[in-house]
């Protein structure tokens, strides 16, 4: 009887001990599953931005001025539903923070148009203080890319290979000014025993 009680007590403790929330390091290596995760996102973004900003012709162009860039969506050609917009965001945040480029946000064009329209035509805004249509700066460069993957599974091993390619195009001339790729390979082996 005593043992039963002790056992019960122990399991109660165990149960309450289980439910806990902790803050983790956002940049710590995450390998919960083999799927595309936060670590992959961070290393790709970092590697791409470093590569872009240290590329000699880009260094030259950005030495005296801050060209305007727009970021196109990254095409997801993998087998996973990955939020590629989040990768793009990470990259553009880093590039912007470097102070080398300026950005235009193409996802907000409709909203901006609506606002300008309101300022110009609603009659509510002081004409002298209204922002004028047709004065936006056109982007000089376009940043875009794609993410593809190859998945192989043999017996208890699963191997995932990601290739992330990014390109920077000079819009007027159509010339590719820069391109780089980042490869990630992850291997997962099944454990022999488990639940």
């Amino acid at each position: 009887m005593k043992y039963v009680l002790m056992g019960l007590l122990a399991s109660t403790l165990l149960m309450t001990g289980c439910a806990s929330v902790q803050y983790g390091d956002a940049t710590a290596t995450e390998t919960t599953t083999i799927d595309f995760g936060s670590t992959d996102l961070q290393i790709t973004a970092e590697k791409m931005v470093d590569s872009l900003l240290s590329f000699p012709p880009i260094v030259q162009v950005t030495a005296t001025r801050r060209p305007v860039m727009f970021v196109d969506t990254i095409k997801n050609k993998s087998m996973e539903h990955i939020d590629t917009e989040s990768i793009t965001d990470s990259i553009s945040t880093k590039v912007l923070r470097s102070g080398k480029f300026r950005f235009v946000d193409m996802t907000k064009v409709a909203e901006v148009r609506k606002q300008l329209d309101y300022q110009a035509n609603s009659g509510m805004v002081n004409e002298n203080k209204a922002m004028q249509m047709g004065r936006q700066v056109g982007a000089e460069y376009m940043l875009y890319g794609n993410l593809s993957s190859i998945v192989k599974r043999a017996g208890s091993t699963k191997d995932v290979y990601y290739k992330f390619t990014m390109k920077l195009m000079h819009i007027e001339s159509g010339v590719l000014e820069w391109q780089d790729e980042k490869e990630i390979r992850k291997v997962k082996k099944k454990s022999l025993f488990g639940g």
Partner: protein, 465 residues
């Protein structure tokens, strides 16, 4: 004391029987599943959808959520369907990632030794998995998420190529186990019992390759402006199902526009037709026609050889005769546009899948029959009543595993036609059933309409926005 023991045993067994009544262990799956079809047929899905909602935590959740996903999508609840399929796919992933020797799987397998295969948690067959990805792709397409749709079709392709490999490994494993336990699994011994499925089984090379899925995949690539990828998947579909004239035309059309000269010459000769010239600024309408329901499994008594001689087990089979599918006629206001042609025979896939698994099942059923026989004999030695109880239990618990995704269609067909841009009214006719829909055709774009014929009702939906 002895009598008290027996009484206790009886009560325990009865409890078990009633407790399990809700699952498929003691009540065969088709008896539960028939109401899913009725719900679709009567356009009265809400009740079964909420019933199935409660099955998200049960052992057979994969099965119930596949049904739910299909029912939800057919009743226009696309978001729910997406969530359901997502959950099944997650479950399949979890199962695949389980340890090689998993406590829960081993437990279920052991439990099945004393009940039946229905106590092993349902895991979707490869052909069912392929359908999940395809239907998920169509769901995404309906939500206007083209990229998400391409991801699902890629996953469908992956499942198909992987299943091929896995299939050979599993057969080898089953044969090894049969040899170890000295169970005769030779084809001739059982062929007579499975004769009812032969016609259907003979229609396909394997259960996991699905021309309908590859066709949908090609279609989605074409919509995504990736004609090269589309061409590859159309060709794969053609390899699996060579007789669909619409598909043949697609392959020829793309072979020509992509400049695949050798292919073009070879296919033109093979099909006996030339690539049609594509008129500029025309749009295309594609009709995906899903007809009837895939048959449900039935139960036969199959004698299997065991250490105690021949014992009879309850074994699942498909008993439906194979029938040539009737086409759907498609009209616009004035004239007939054409008729659909078959691209996948789902009955054939299901029957083939059962046949592919038969070796492994026979081994498992034989071992179980032997274990149950031994239990019964031991109980009989203790006292007569226990013996009878055990026999009774064995009789009641001997149920074939008749689970499968039963809201899938019996076959699927396609039609593709070039149409002028603008709004068109399409009319569909199959037997007594008729239905119409207004579609918008845009130049150089594809408008996809899915027509589902349940036999009593026609569900028409515009997949493209």
């Amino acid at each position: 004391m002895k009598q008290a023991n027996t009484a206790f045993c009886l009560i325990a067994l009865t409890c078990m029987l009633t407790a399990c009544a809700a699952t498929s262990i003691f009540m065969h799956y088709p008896a539960q599943a028939i109401k899913y079809r009725l719900a679709i047929n009567n356009n009265n899905e809400q009740a079964v959808l909420s019933q199935l909602d409660k099955k998200r935590r049960v052992a057979d959740k994969q099965l119930y959520l596949m049904e739910r996903g299909r029912i939800a999508s057919l009743s226009g609840r696309v978001d729910e369907s997406i969530e359901d399929y997502k959950e099944v796919l997650e479950q399949i992933g979890v199962r695949q990632d389980k340890a090689i020797i998993s406590a829960s799987e081993t437990g279920a397998q052991a439990a099945s030794l004393f009940t039946n295969d229905n106590s092993i948690p349902y895991s979707a067959s490869a052909y069912e998995q392929v359908f999940i990805h395809q239907y998920q792709a169509l769901n995404y397409l309906r939500k206007g998420k083209l990229e998400a749709a391409t991801i699902e079709t890629r996953r469908a392709n992956f499942v198909q190529s992987e299943a091929n490999e896995k299939h050979h490994r599993e057969i080898a494993k089953a044969q090894e186990k049969a040899r170890k336990n000295q169970i005769d699994v030779s084809q001739d011994r059982y062929s007579g019992y499975f004769a009812s499925m032969d016609a259907a089984v003979g229609k396909v090379k394997n259960s996991f390759q699905n021309a309908y899925t590859f066709y949908t995949s090609g279609l989605i690539y074409e919509m995504d402006n990736l004609p090269n990828d589309a061409y590859i998947d159309y060709k794969k579909a053609l390899q699996i199902y060579p007789d669909n004239r619409h598909l043949q035309r697609d392959v020829l059309r793309l072979a020509r526009s992509l400049g695949m000269r050798e292919d073009l010459a070879r296919y033109s000769k093979q099909f006996g037709m030339k690539a049609e010239s594509v008129k500029r600024n025309m749009g295309s309408v594609v009709v995906l026609y899903e007809q009837g329901y895939v048959p449900m499994k039935e139960e036969i008594r199959l004698p299997v050889p065991t250490a105690h001689g021949l014992l009879t087990v309850a074994f699942p089979v498909y008993n439906n005769p194979w029938i040539k599918a009737a086409p759907l006629q498609v009209y616009n206001k004035t004239h007939e546009i054409g008729t659909t042609e078959v691209i996948v025979d789902v009955y054939a896939l299901a029957a083939k899948a059962l046949k592919e698994k038969a070796t492994g099942m026979i081994v498992r059923y034989a071992l179980r029959a032997a274990a149950k026989y031994e239990m019964q004999k031991k109980a009989g030695k203790q006292n007569a009543l226990a013996g009878i109880t055990a026999q009774l239990y064995n009789m009641v618990s001997e149920n074939a595993d008749r689970r499968s995704w039963v809201t899938l269609p019996g076959n699927a067909q396609t039609l593709r036609a070039a149409m002028k841009p603008g709004t068109h009214t399409l009319h569909f006719k199959a037997g007594q059933l008729q239905q119409g829909i207004d579609v918008t055709v845009r130049s150089n774009q594809i408008t996809v309409v899915r027509v589902v014929n349940t036999g009593v009702r026609m569900i028409v939906e515009n997949i493209t926005l």
